[in-house]
Every structure is written in structure tokens, then in C-alpha cells.
Amino acid sequence: MNAKLAILFFLLTIGFAMPILLGVRSVPDIQLPNLHTDYQPEQPIAYSHRLHAGVLDIDCQYCHTGADKGRHATLPNVQTCMNCHATAKGRTDSAKAEIGKLQLAMQDKNQDGQPDGVSWKRVHNNADFVYFNHQTHVRIAKFIDDSGNIVDGIDCVQCHGDMTTAGVAKQQEQLTMGFCINCHRTQNDRHVTANLPALAPVNSCDACHR
């Protein structure tokens, strides 16, 4: 009995002490999707935010059309890409190859006989039990800055960072509850001060957890 207990105790100790033994550095490696800063997966097409949103200055919502309409910002349909890329076929060989993938995406048929599309990797993920609505933040909300100026909508940069310099999309902020609620609280106070209670962000749990 004692031997059994000893083994058990040993195993437990090893199990729980391992993280410490291996060094604190390894702990942040256990990444929940919402905390995964610097997550920059290789995408099926080498798309550059810097080129499109930065150099060419295309509005975010030209492609992410759902951002002011519903819960998801949505990724552009292949047809949206083709609005420009039907004629803009790229100058360098590598650009031509990447843009050519769009053409293929519309031609390749899956088992249902439908074009297969582009399977992008999702960069920004909220925790599964969080309900976030883009429309509320992008279209409805008012942002009151430090000097009290009221701005329509929350700038995408607030959560997604500056994509115009980013190149391949990368998660820049940890989407934690603290990250959300800090802004909710500050903005709530400022809305009350500015006498805009109807649009004040909600601090109750049910705003995000249902």
C-alpha cells in the first residue's frame, strides 16, 4: 500500500513539477487561440495587407464587407478579388503565380462539382464562449478618445493593430477579457460623462457571455 502511495505521489509530483523544471519560458507556449500574439500562419495565397491596405489604400470594408453588417467581418469572396484581379494580373513572376491561384480557385471543382474556393487560415480567434459582434463595434459604437472627441465606430486598429504595415496578417493583441473590459469600462465612463448613456458599452457578463 505504502509503495503504491509512494509511486502515486512521485508521479503526481513529477507531473505538476515538470513545467517548473523545464523552465518558465515554456509555459506561454500553451497558447489559446485568443491569446496567440504573433500568430502569423502561412496563407494559401501570399496576400499582403501592406500592399492592399497600405500602399493602395483600399478601405478595410471593401473586402471585409460583413464588418458593418453582422457578427463576422467576413473574408472577401473570390469574386471580390477578381473585381481588380481580372485585369491586375501582377508584374513579377511570383505575383503572377499568387494571383493565378485565384483563377484556379474558381475553376477547381470539389466533389460536389462546385468551385473549391480559397481556404484561408483564420488569424483572429475569440474564445468559444465569447460573443463578439463586428457591427456593434464598427458601425454603431461611438469611440470617445482621451481628449473627449466623439468618433463614429471603433477603428479596426484598436483590436487588429495597424494592418497597413503588417504584410501577412498577424495577431497583434491578446484578445483576453481584460483587453475587452478595459476598453468597455473606460468608454462606459466617458459615455456617461458625455451624456450618451444609450450607446455606452455594457459591462455586464451577458454582453459577451450567453
Binding site: 508521479l11 515538470m18 474556393g117 487560415k121
Partner: protein, 984 residues
């Protein structure tokens, strides 16, 4: 057996938990080892997030945004009523059904059965392709076979009332086919009687909103009769005492019945008669109204009551309505005579705009069975009906089918009848296909698909057209329907508008003369009172959830408890306490009921208020080929009759269809006792004012009557007084309007991803419903109710929807150690599931017992079934507490919508699922801080009260006293007298 009597060896423990316990104890060491290893493994591997993929569409459909839900108008096909619906479709899949506000049949309301139609759509046990002898085949095979025999075939269907649908049937008939239709729960006697008395064999339109006095003889119009949602809605308009109504025109409902029906439970007066007495009572009433129809038979209703009730009818005159659900044409004739004598035709019932919801012809069906037995039917196509199961002589039908050379079924399931057929043409679910209806003459309703076909199925119309070689058979049925309606739409309306609205047509008053009454027809009525009585009579009725049995595979409906007995997952043999005693059986005893040539086994259950010498069994149960009900967790094994399960048959309850039309039944105990999954075992309020009630008379004198006695709360609280600066959401439930139909419960389950837990778990009181409807019985003599008392009692019944009361001083919030439940700025008691660690302190401290705990992982293990989940709500995991959120997701949707249009939230802009579907508008939701919201006004109604106000919980949900239209009872008078004593 009660919980706790025999739990020293975990024998009460659900099998899953037992297995788990065993596993853990057997290999505790392994378990520990694995835990340790897992912790190490996690570190060494250095977990990174798994890539998640998003695949946008190639081309976005115009006007559709992913993640946004859109409503599409359609028609409910859950029963014959054909209510108008709106399908909430999100990302290509319907996730909720609601009543279509512009529907003249049902308005915004939808019953429990209608709500639950989504289950049928996603049920993985539907046929996935056409079959031959149970094996999948190609459509070309079945088409070739059917084409060869379709000419001159007999087509057996349920009611088909759509104009385009009938045009297809006519094409079929033109090719030499014969069409027979029947309804499992028949109203043929009503139509037949009107054929004789008025020369038009139809079911009249009933206008309950016009009637001041309704006499119902076993016509369960609030429960399942013809068009229950519309009837309940109309009836409730005359019962409503809200918003300054004075109650002068409040209608009175008198129910004559043997069993305890929903209609009876809501009646102001219940007269208990056996079915065999019904004819005699009708004849007696007719005689007292001046009719000489023949000798009046014997019945048990006292002379004084008969005289009073007859006088009541006479007073009501053309505002009276006498209805009967009797299958006996003679009794229907007498009812027609009474209605005609009172002048009610043209006021409360009308033959100029008849119902087309039950067009079945029982005589034609009887002839068909004869022909089949004689071998003169070569080909039989059975479409959408299940005669082997739901005919009183189903066995005879099955035998007769053996003499038919070619049998083809058009069905979505391999049910009792389809599995006897050689071929099954797999049919679309109603939510996948196009169809049209004419539920009431002149009112049209279209059905459109809300989803692409899940399986390799086809519209029944398309199959039929193909088989008769019609050129339309090569088209999609949508094209056929569109072409038909484009030629037949009213002027000024195009096809797109018609599909958008879903329903429309005749409205306003009916013009033209009402057909006259043919007194000569009354000769036959002479026999109405001459029904022989039996010592033990059997009464069958359409169940409130499974209806005629076609919804037996529906988990939501199986788990919805019967409103009267609060029993789920089976039907029972209801008997009055005295009859139970006389038969020597007790609650839960399995009894065998036998009539000539048929029998069924069901558990016995006590039902106070039933006529003695009667046993009542609901239809719709005892399906032997309904397939498994719920996948995973062994729910179906828990739910079925163990005797049958031994034979490999998954049947829940017993089949009572063979008893239709039978009078005498013999009952014998089988010696086995089973556990009944009751969600409530207590019928009495124990003299506490939980469901407050009064009489109309008293209420007119004092609008606070019945609600005088409030024990003032001791105002001590740990919490600060909440100061709601913005909204304060609240709800008021009008107990006077609530009829106990439980539509709210099913609607809530669907909206909020509430799991189905199965019979065993319900027996452990672990059902997960966020809203329940409590049924309270009250003795008619004012003494404390005791359901086991065998003395003759005729109790009054009240229904009370109970959900999270969103208390300001919430007992649950005080005890949560991790603040998983807290108070929102807008008066809601909110639950953060991801924060909950499952201590269950909150449930323990909740005086309303509305919190539900996830004892297991209840998620659907089947991918198809998961399509029904509402993406706006979390699927809770094991070990987490959950409860009503007042549909927080809908509140936020409403707020967003208002902000988008820069308006304030107007009354009615936000409705939780329960309030939305309520056929009688018993539940009102809104902002208590906004004086323009109805709910704020109702808060000031003298009838308003909070349940258990004395414990100072200060609920956000309050109730309105129930007002019965009957003379005040002595006990109530005493209460009022006492109150005045206090006041002065």
C-alpha cells in the same frame, strides 16, 4: 420508489455515471498515471493553436451576409391546422420557427408541435434515399417500377387542401387513379352531419372570439382540435382583462368531458360525464331549448345544473357556441340543431368560410380496405400517412396490403406502413420542399424550403407527376407551383410577393346567405341518446405533443411533459382516484387494456377530476417503427417499454389507436410497476398564494381581489438597492391567459440549445427546461387539495409558467463562490457558463427551482442534429449551471437594431422565444423603466403580484391573478371579507 430510498449501492445511479464510477475505481492508478503523463506531455510538446480555416464563398448571394439570420415565410405541416410560419434561416439552415404575424390562422403564435418541427428536419434517421425492400436504390429504378403501375393506382393520403396540390391529384385521377384521404384523428362526423343538416358536408369555421358562451363536449379546442393555436388565440381575446378591459364581455367556457383535457382545465365549469352519456346530455339540452328530437336517455348531470346551463345557452343566443369532438354523426346532428336553434350559425360558426383542415373521408377509407381485402386493388401508393399504425383496424389494413400486388410509399421514414411497402420513395422534409395549402376556404398559404435537401430525397408531388408520365414530372416542383400560382394569384400580387408573405387571401366579413337548416335530417338524431354504457369505458385523444404519432421521433416533444399529469416519455392510462381504487391498481402499475382484437400496455396514473368508470389514453405513442429517438447517451433505451425492448422494438408507451370507437375496455394489471418520468409530483399549492385566483364577479367589485393578501417582505438585503439608469428588463405573465399548452417550453429549448436528457434523467428531476409550466389543482370545496383522495371531487386547475425570476435580491448571486452568476446593469440575473465551477449552491438557494445543472455532456453526438443549434448561444458543457437568460441574445439583437436606426427600443421590438410563440399572449416582455412599454403598465395592474414576495427576492418577473368566470367560492368570499376587516 422515491429518490433516496435505495441508494446505498448506487442502484439509483444512471448507468452512464455508474459505468464511469466503475471505470475510475478499477483503474485509479492508471488514471493517476495518465494525468501525470498528460501534464508532462503538454509541456514537452509546447501546444500551439491549431489552424482554423475560413473559406469564403466564390460569389456572395446578393443581400445575404454570413452570420446574419433572415426570415422566410412558410407553412407548418406538424398537424392539419397549417399555421403560417417564419423560418429563421442562418447560413443556409433553419434554426427556429415562429408564427407568421400576418397569418389569419395563427398570427405570431405557434404550438409546441409546430416549434419542434426542426427536429424532424435534422433527424438523422430520415430516409436518405429511395429504397426497395429496405435497401437503397436509385431514383431511376423506383421511377421505372412506379411508372409501370401508376395508372389506375389508389393513392392514400392525409388531408390535401392546397389548390396546386389538388391539381396534381386531379392529374393523377385523370390517368385513371383513385384518391382516398383520411385523418388519423377524424373530424368526418362533423362534416357528415353538416351535409345532412345544411346540405354542405364541411367543417364550419369556428369563431371563438365571437362567442360569449362556449359549451364543449369533448372538443379539445385549446389542446389539439382542428386548429388549436388559432382557436386558443381567438378564445383568449375574450378572456383578456388587461389594459383597462372591464370583463363585461368575458366569455364563459363550460366543458363536458370524461377525461381531464386542456380545454376542461381551462373551463370555468367542468361537467364530468362518461362518453356514453354525451348523446343524452346533448339531447336533454336540445329538449330544454324546445326541441323534440326524441326520447332523452339517462345521464348523471343533476336536473338543477341542466336547467341552469340550458338557460345560460338561451341567454347567450347567437353568441353561444356548442361544439363536440364526437365521432358519432347523430351527436353532431344534435349539436348542429342546438347551434341553429340559438341562431349561432353566421355568428360563432359559419359554413360560408369552412375549415379545410380535415378533409378525410372515413367512408371512402372503409371502402378502400374492403376493396383491398377483396383483391381488387392492384397498386397502392401510400403518401404521408401511416394507416398500419394509426387506424383502429391497422392490423386488418396490414393484412389487406398483402393482397395488393404493388405497394409504394412516399414517406420520409420507414414507418410501420412504409416498411410494409415494396418501394419507398424518400420524401423531402416539409422544411426542404415547396407546397401550398388552403387551410380555410379562401385563405392560402405557401410553403418554401429553408434549406437545401440534406439527403437524396424528392418532393412527393414530383414523384407522383413523374410516375403518371406528366410533362411537369421532369421539372422541379417549384416550377410547377410557380406556374400554377402565377396564373391564379389575386390581381396586384406577383409570385415574389406571395412567397415573401407566405399567406394571404380572404379577410373581413363573409357575404351571402348562410345555408338554411334542414329539419328533416334530424330524424336520425333520435338515436343520439341511445348509447350503451359500460362499466369501464375507454377514451382516446390526440396527445398535445406527439399528436397523431407522427412526431414520436421528436426528442423535444417526448420530453415535453403532458400539461395535466406532468409526465414525459410515455402515455399513461388516466383514471380517477376512485376508479384506480376500484381496479386495484396504483400509480405506475403497468396495466393491459384490451378491447376485442387489440390490447396495449401502459402505466396507470391517477388523474383527479375524471369521470369515474373511465380510462383515458392518449394517441400517438407506442410506435414500433419510429427508430431511435435521440442519438447517444442511451436515451432511447431509457425511454422505451422494457418488455418490447427485449424483442428489439423501440416503442415508447402504448398504441391506443385500436381503441378509437371502442366503448367497453377491460383492464388487467400485469404485475409490473414502472417509473414514471414526472417533472412535478406535487399538485397542491398547500394553501400558499403562489397561483392567485379569483372569480370574475369578485374582480369586478374589487380589481385587487384574490391578490389582497400580500405578506410584506422584511426588507433586509446584502445587496445595494439597484439603480437602473437605462433599461430594466422585466416580464409579466397573465395567468388568466395562460392555457398550459407548453409551447413556450419547447420554443425556449430550441432558441437556447436546451438539451434533451431522456426519461431516466427526467425521473431524477434533472430535466433541463429553462421554463416549465406548473400545474396546480384546487379542490372545488375550498379544502386543501389531495390528489389521492378517492372521494368525488371536481378540482379546478391552474397553470403557471415558471422561469428564472431575475430577482433584484437574487439568492443565487449571494452564494456563488466564483461570481459566475451576477446582476446586469439592466436588471437581468446573468450566468457566465465559462466561469461556473458547478458547486450548485445557486440552485440550492433558488426558491423558484429554476436553475438547471448539466450532470452530463448532453451535446448531440450526431453532426446532422447539431445543425439545429442556435449559434448565438453557447452549448453548455458538463458540470455547469444554466437557466433562463430572458433570451439575452434577442435583447442584444433588439438593442443593436434600435441603435442602428437611431431609435429607442419600442414596445414589442424585443420578444423572448416564450413570449413570441405564446398563442394567447400570456407573456409580456419589455422595459419596466419605459412607461410606454406594456409591461410597465401591467406592473401597476391591481392583479400584479410576485411569487414568494414575502422572502424579499424582488423578482423582475411578476404574474397577474387568474380570474375565473364563475360565481365566487365561499373560501374566496371569506378571504375578501377578512381583507375588508383589516382595511377598516
Amino acid at each position: 420508489m422515491e429518490i433516496g430510498t435505495n441508494n446505498n449501492d448506487f442502484s439509483d445511479m444512471p448507468p452512464e455515471l455508474k459505468a464511469e464510477m466503475k471505470e475510475v475505481s478499477q483503474s485509479r492508478r492508471d488514471f493517476m498515471k495518465v494525468t501525470g503523463m498528460a501534464a508532462m506531455g503538454a509541456v514537452i510538446a509546447g501546444c500551439t493553436a491549431e489552424d482554423r480555416h475560413v473559406k469564403p464563398l466564390i460569389k456572395k448571394p446578393e443581400g445575404i451576409t454570413p452570420g446574419v439570420a433572415y426570415n422566410y415565410a412558410s407553412t407548418c405541416q406538424g398537424c392539419s391546422a397549417n399555421c403560417g410560419t417564419l423560418m429563421k434561416v442562418r447560413d443556409g439552415r433553419p434554426i427556429k420557427l415562429e408564427g407568421n404575424a400576418i397569418s389569419p390562422i395563427n398570427g405570431t403564435g405557434l404550438c409546441a408541435t409546430g416549434q419542434a418541427q426542426l427536429w424532424t428536419l435534422y433527424n438523422p434517421d430520415r430516409l436518405h434515399s429511395p429504397t426497395k425492400g429496405g435497401e437503397p436504390v436509385e431514383w431511376s429504378d423506383i421511377d421505372a417500377a412506379a411508372k409501370a403501375v401508376a395508372g389506375g393506382a389508389v393513392l392514400l393520403t392525409g388531408t390535401i387542401n392546397g389548390p396546386c396540390a389538388n391539381s396534381v391529384i386531379n392529374k393523377f385521377k385523370a390517368k385513371g387513379g383513385r384518391h382516398v384521404s383520411y385523418d388519423a384523428v377524424s373530424c368526418y362526423a362533423i362534416a357528415k352531419a353538416h351535409g345532412q343538416t345544411h346540405g354542405t358536408p364541411v367543417i364550419p369555421g369556428y369563431y371563438f372570439d365571437q362567442a360569449t358562451t362556449v359549451f364543449s363536449f369533448d372538443a379539445d379546442f385549446l389542446g389539439a382540435w382542428i386548429s388549436p393555436v388559432g382557436f386558443a388565440r381567438d378564445w383568449a381575446t375574450r378572456r383578456d382583462l388587461k389594459f383597462g378591459r372591464d370583463g363585461k364581455d368575458m366569455s364563459r367556457l363550460v366543458s363536458f368531458e370524461a377525461r381531464m383535457s386542456l380545454t376542461g382545465a381551462n373551463a370555468d365549469e367542468r361537467v364530468r360525464i362518461k362518453d356514453s352519456e354525451r348523446g343524452a346530455v346533448l339531447m336533454d339540452l336540445a329538449k330544454r331549448l324546445g326541441g323534440d328530437l326524441g326520447a332523452v336517455g339517462k345521464h348523471s348531470v343533476p336536473e338543477a345544473d341542466m336547467a341552469r346551463l340550458a338557460e345560460e345557452l338561451k341567454q347567450a343566443g347567437r353568441r353561444a357556441l356548442v361544439i363536440t369532438g364526437s365521432l358519432d354523426v347523430n351527436e353532431q346532428l344534435v349539436a348542429n340543431w342546438i347551434n341553429n336553434k340559438l341562431g349561432a350559425y353566421g355568428t360563432t360558426l359559419d359554413l360560408r368560410r369552412p375549415s379545410r383542415q380535415k378533409l378525410g373521408d372515413d367512408d371512402a377509407l372503409a371502402q378502400l380496405i374492403k376493396d383491398m381485402s377483396a383483391g381488387s386493388v392492384k397498386t397502392l401508393i401510400v403518401w404521408g400517412v401511416n394507416p398500419v399504425y394509426d387506424l383502429p383496424n391497422g392490423a386488418a389494413f396490414k393484412e389487406a396490403m398483402g393482397k395488393v400486388a404493388n405497394t409504394i410509399a412516399i414517406s420520409s421514414h420507414a414507418d410501420e406502413t412504409a416498411s410494409e411497402c415494396q418501394w419507398i420513395a424518400a420524401e423531402d422534409d416539409p422544411l426542404e420542399t415547396w407546397n401550398d395549402f388552403e387551410p380555410v376556404q379562401g385563405i392560402f398559404s405557401l410553403a418554401q424550403p429553408g434549406i437545401r435537401r440534406l439527403w437524396n430525397t424528392r418532393s412527393g408531388f414530383a414523384s407522383l407527376l413523374k410516375w403518371i408520365g406528366d410533362p411537369d414530372g421532369n421539372k422541379d416542383y417549384r416550377e410547377v407551383l410557380k406556374a400554377f400560382w402565377e396564373a391564379n394569384l389575386p390581381r396586384g400580387m406577383n409570385w415574389t410577393q406571395a412567397v415573401e408573405q407566405g399567406t394571404g387571401g380572404a379577410s373581413g366579413d363573409v357575404r351571402g346567405d348562410h345555408p338554411g337548416f334542414n329539419n328533416a335530417a334530424m330524424g336520425a338524431a333520435r338515436d343520439a341518446g341511445k348509447v350503451e354504457s359500460a362499466t369501464l369505458e375507454v377514451v382516446t385523444y390526440e396527445s398535445y405533443n406527439l399528436r397523431d404519432g407522427r412526431h414520436a421521433t421528436n426528442g423535444w416533444l417526448q420530453e415535453m411533459a403532458d400539461p395535466m399529469s406532468r409526465i414525459s416519455w410515455t402515455n399513461v392510462a388516466f383514471m380517477s382516484p376512485a376508479t384506480m381504487k376500484a381496479q386495484g391498481v396504483d400509480e405506475g402499475d403497468m396495466v393491459e387494456l384490451s378491447v376485442e382484437g387489440a390490447s396495449c400496455k401502459v402505466p396507470a396514473n391517477r388523474q383527479p377530476g375524471m369521470a369515474d368508470g373511465v380510462v383515458a389514453v392518449s394517441l400517438g405513442y407506442g410506435r414500433t417503427k419510429a427508430g431511435p429517438i435521440v442519438h447517444g447517451r442511451g436515451v432511447e433505451e431509457d425511454a422505451v417499454d422494457p418488455d418490447l425492448l427485449d424483442e428489439g422494438i423501440h416503442a415508447i408507451g402504448g398504441n391506443a389507436f385500436p381503441f378509437i370507437g371502442a366503448k367497453s375496455v377491460s383492464l388487467s394489471a400485469t404485475g409490473r410497476t414502472i417509473r414514471l418520468a414526472k417533472v412535478s409530483t406535487h399538485d397542491s399549492q398547500e394553501d400558499r398564494p403562489i397561483l392567485k385566483q379569483t372569480s370574475l364577479e369578485q374582480w369586478k367589485k374589487n380589481p385587487k381581489s384574490g391578490n389582497e393578501h400580500e405578506i410584506p417582505p422584511v426588507d433586509i438585503t446584502l445587496w445595494p438597492r439597484w439603480d437602473y439608469k437605462g433599461h430594466k428588463w422585466g416580464m409579466v405573465v397573465d395567468l388568466n391567459s395562460c392555457i398550459g399548452c407548453s409551447a413556450c417550453q419547447v420554443a425556449c429549448s430550441i432558441e437556447n440549445n436546451v438539451p434533451v436528457v431522456g426519461k431516466e434523467e427526467v425521473w431524477y428531476r434533472r430535466e433541463m427546461h429553462w421554463i416549465r409550466v406548473d400545474t396546480y389543482y384546487e379542490d372545488n370545496d375550498g379544502s386543501k387539495f389531495d390528489g389521492k383522495k378517492t372521494e368525488d371531487i371536481n378540482p379546478e386547475v391552474g397553470f403557471q409558467p415558471m422561469m428564472c425570476q431575475h430577482c433584484d435580491n437574487a439568492p443565487c448571486e449571494t452564494v456563488c463562490p466564483v461570481i459566475a452568476t451576477s446582476h446586469s446593469d439592466e436588471g437581468l440575473n446573468v450566468q457566465a457558463y465559462n466561469r461556473c465551477i458547478g458547486t450548485r449552491y445557486c440552485a440550492n438557494n433558488c426558491p423558484y427551482k429554476v436553475r438547471r445543472f448539466n450532470w452530463f455532456r448532453y451535446e448531440n453526438l450526431n453532426l446532422t442534429m447539431n445543425l439545429v443549434l442556435n449559434p448565438d448561444i453557447v452549448v453548455r458543457s458538463r458540470g455547469v449551471m444554466e437557466k433562463c437568460s430572458m433570451c439575452a441574445q434577442r435583447i442584444y439583437d433588439g438593442k443593436r437594431e434600435a441603435a442602428l436606426h437611431d431609435t429607442k427600443i419600442v414596445d414589442g421590438a424585443i420578444t423572448p422565444a416564450c413570449a413570441q410563440t405564446c398563442p394567447t399572449d400570456a407573456i409580456t416582455f419589455g422595459d419596466l423603466n419605459d412607461s410606454e412599454h406594456k409591461v410597465a403598465k401591467l406592473l401597476k395592474d391591481p392583479r400584479n403580484y410576485a411569487v414568494l414576495a414575502e422572502i424579499n427576492t424582488r423578482p423582475g418577473v411578476t404574474y397577474l391573478t387568474k380570474v375565473r368566470n364563475r360565481p365566487a367560492k365561499e373560501s374566496e368570499l371569506k378571504l375578501t371579507a377578512n381583507d375588508h376587516g383589516h382595511d377598516h
